[in-house]
């Protein structure tokens, strides 16, 4: 159980939700929480909704989420207000690899895939060189998210589909860009975003001989490894994204596999 501290729109249909847990929790970047979006008196909507950690304040047990209203679950969530209690499970999943030191790291996020990269960036920026490549549909979505990264020491490269903010195009343009890839030697990439983007990143990593990892999404019923609804095909057999994931080695994932 957590208390809602605030739940406010960042952009059209995109909300920032901040909650406080009563008990101490320990959250790693890339982990997620599974949130009940209906009251105790109701079984509809039935399932929890998984959301990645956007930010975590350890001292106050505060977790922030950024979510887009997609259907009735997220719409219901957007109706919660300050002071409401929220039935939340988590943190769940494995989270990103965070024990890098003095490395040149790329964090590539597309759309809502940007969300888990913020806490990741904050977590690892002190000891590493970060390049953030963030893409979204348009300025309205990208700017409020990108603004969060302005305060941390990262190189920020932005693109929008319609060119309304940053360069026009997809994330692939940011990575193909001469300032990246060939000239600087990158050590590792973190990727999160729609499947086509991850597919492109996978080829790019292969070509550039860089390793990396992806945070992946699948419809989840339990978030606790019980139901196998979130299976992801890898070259090491099926993995449950809620348990062995949501972060998996980029080279292992067989996108569109199952």
């Amino acid at each position: 159980m957590a208390k809602v501290l605030s739940n406010k729109p960042l952009a059209d249909k995109i909300f920032l939700l901040k909650v406080r847990f009563k008990d101490g929790i320990n959250v790693k970047p890339g982990q997620f929480f599974n949130i009940k979006v209906c009251s105790e008196e109701s079984y509809d909507p039935l399932l929890r909704r998984p959301l990645s950690v956007f930010d975590f304040d350890e001292d106050n047990n505060e977790v922030s989420f950024v979510y887009e209203i997609k259907g009735r679950g997220t719409r219901a969530l957007s109706n919660y207000i300050k002071g409401d209690s929220l039935d939340i499970h988590g943190p769940l999943g494995n989270g990103f690899t965070v024990d890098f030191n003095n490395k040149k790291l790329i964090l590539a996020g597309g759309g809502m895939g940007i969300v888990p990269l913020f806490y990741l960036a904050k977590y690892i920026e002190a000891n590493n060189d970060l390049t953030l490549c963030l893409g979204a549909a348009n300025k309205e979505v990208l700017k409020p998210l990108a603004d969060y990264f302005a305060n941390i020491a990262v190189e920020l490269k932005l693109s929008t589909d319609d060119g309304s903010f940053g360069s026009q195009g997809t994330i692939s343009c940011l990575l193909n860009n001469s300032s990246l890839g060939k000239e600087v030697e990158y050590d590792y990439l973190f990727g999160c975003g729609p499947e086509p983007m991850l597919g492109w990143l996978q080829s790019w990593l292969h070509e550039e001989e860089i390793s990396g990892e992806f945070s992946l999404e699948e419809r989840m019923a339990c978030g606790n490894g019980l139901c196998l609804s979130c299976s992801c095909k890898t070259n090491d057999g099926n993995k449950r994204l809620c348990k062995e994931g949501p972060v998996l080695p980029a080279s292992e994932v067989m996108l569109g596999g199952l």
Partner: protein, 311 residues
């Protein structure tokens, strides 16, 4: 909140310390639940359905949410009989509760092999026979819709396996009674009532079914009235002891099944939403018995038949 109320029950030859079991496919092979509580808190554990050979399961999306319901089409992802015996059984043997192994097949021979394979193993409380899978030879209709096939499967399993055999029925039949009777004739010790109802959801943005397989099995609160009625019907005909399941979310739901005559209950979808659900439900049943001055669980089993005797 220990009310010292006797929650013991039995399903035919299977003795249970308490009436709440986890349902197949919603508790994995038990390991994950140990993060939340000791498995011996459960009346029993019915593990994920296994098949003869390992299966990687269906393509994703494998689930869709509906009103107060969940449609799944996991496709029996499992390590196969040998994988189960090697990877999962050792842990399950260490567990101090009744473990039932759910078996699924796409041919009669599959069921025979599974029963024979499990017959050689120690540490299993019994077999739950899932007859809701499509019968490949029968044009894809579930085995469980045909009393003749249910008899054959049960008979095959019975001959290979000496222990407790429970047949899990599909609710998707015109009349459950002949199917239930066939399982009894085939030698089943108990019936699990019921499995999921076939269901579908269509995504109106992509104009195609949400599940990769088109349709799947509906579970959760939505189906409770349907499964509860089937339990009531079967108990009325006094065929075999029944494990009731379908949409049990709270102790109140479980109590409805017990009043309808189920001797134990299974909790599926609820465990996915709250892993503690089976324990909460067990405690809630004890509270109910206490509050209503019942001495033990047995007193309420089937009570709705007495009270609604004229139905």
């Amino acid at each position: 909140m220990d009310y010292k109320i006797d929650l013991k029950t039995e399903l035919g030859s299977l003795q249970l310390e308490s009436p709440v079991m986890t349902a197949s496919g919603t508790c994995g092979f038990g390991r994950e639940l140990t993060d939340f509580y000791e498995l011996n808190e459960l009346g029993g554990l019915i593990v994920k359905g296994i098949t003869v050979d390992p299966r990687e399961g269906n393509p994703t999306p494998r689930i869709a949410e509906t009103a107060a319901g969940l449609i799944n089409s996991i496709g029996l992802e499992n390590p196969g009989l040998d994988g189960f015996i090697k990877e999962e059984l050792p842990f399950l043997k260490s567990v101090n509760t009744k473990v039932l192994v759910n078996i699924s097949g796409h041919s009669l021979d599959d069921f025979k092999k599974l029963a024979a394979g499990l017959a050689k193993q120690e540490g299993i409380g019994g077999i739950e026979v899932n007859v809701s899978c499509p019968n490949i030879k029968g044009g894809g209709l579930a085995f469980g819709t045909d009393p003749e096939l249910v008899f054959k499967i049960t008979d095959l399993v019975r001959k290979e396996y000496n222990g407790f055999v429970m047949v899990k029925l599909t609710p998707n039949v015109s009349n459950i009674i002949p199917v239930a009777k066939s399982a009894a004739e085939g030698g089943a010790d108990a019936l699990a009532v019921a499995n999921t109802l076939p269901g579908m959801k269509i995504d109106i943005e992509s104009q195609s079914p949400v599940l990769a397989t088109g349709s799947g099995g509906l579970s959760g609160p939505a189906i409770k009235p349907v499964a509860l009625r089937l339990v009531y019907e079967i108990v009325k005909h006094d065929i075999l002891p029944v494990l009731g399941l379908g949409g049990i979310m709270t102790a109140d739901d479980a109590i409805e099944y017990l009043l309808a005559g189920a001797r134990a209950v299974g909790v599926g979808t609820a465990t996915l939403i709250d892993p503690y659900a089976p324990i909460r439900i067990k405690t809630g049943i004890a509270e109910y018995l206490n509050k209503n001055n019942f001495e033990n669980l047995q007193e309420i089993i089937g009570l709705a038949h007495k009270k609604g005797a004229n139905l």
